[in-house]
């Protein structure tokens, strides 16, 4: 499996990442891409931006571990994870995940697995910046833990 992991401030260009992945994906019949983007609202409050921080080095290692876990479960040919940090304005991309496999069921399952674990295991922290200038750390969601736990039964 070709695996490439990046954590950075700069935006991502999906077309560029897709071209790289396809060049390495071998005889893949299915490519699943997930993009997470900054939404303009949290509940009723209008958001201006998110601030993301992480634990350099540890983050990349954790993502690699998660991706290799996925590889033991599904026959993946290529995997790209790009997660941004810093100040991300509403509408900007936060995370780009691309998974290639021979068949679609494996590509979908691996992409969901990776996102569930990325949300619950990788050391990223989000702070919301509202349009009124106030800031608030985002609480970890119980629903994310539950999403990640559903894979344990299959292990």
């Amino acid at each position: 499996m070709w695996l490439d992991i990046t954590v950075r401030e700069a935006p991502f260009v999906v077309a560029f990442e897709e071209e790289r992945l396809l060049a390495e994906a071998g005889d893949a019949g299915a490519v699943v891409t997930f993009q997470g983007r900054v939404r303009g609202h949290d509940g009723e409050l209008p958001l201006a931006a998110l601030h993301l921080e992480h634990y350099p080095g540890v983050t990349e290692d954790e993502i690699a571990r998660i991706a290799r876990d996925a590889q033991t479960r599904w026959p993946l040919t290529a995997c790209r994870v790009l997660h941004r940090v810093g100040r991300l304005a509403v509408g900007e991309g936060i995370v780009l995940l691309m998974v290639a496999s021979r068949h679609r069921a494996a590509a979908f399952a691996a992409a969901e697995y990776l996102m569930d674990y990325l949300k619950t295991e990788a050391p990223f922290w989000k702070r919301e910046e509202f349009v009124d200038g106030s800031c608030r750390w985002v609480d970890a969601k119980t629903s994310d833990d539950e999403a990640a736990r559903r894979w344990e039964a299959d292990a």
């Binding site: 992480h54 080095g57 995370v95 050391p123 990223f124 970890a140």
Partner: protein, 82 residues
Amino acid sequence: MIRILYFGFLREALGRDSETLAWDGGDSDALLALLRERGDNWAAALAPDKVFRVVVDREVRRGVVAIPDGAEVGILPPVTGG
């Protein structure tokens, strides 16, 4: 001596990014207990449900981990990426 790094809301709650601490050895539970004794805001910020993981020398292990002298210790609140 160990070097402690704080992440996420812990930086604001504890008023620091990092610190250097004299250390006689012990595990992550011992370190957390020591830090919680510093006062109510430390005990609240480092309550069990607020500490997701303690990472020693950038090697992620689950549960209680040994902390040798000279270690870098990351104290991670629950993560919210993706």
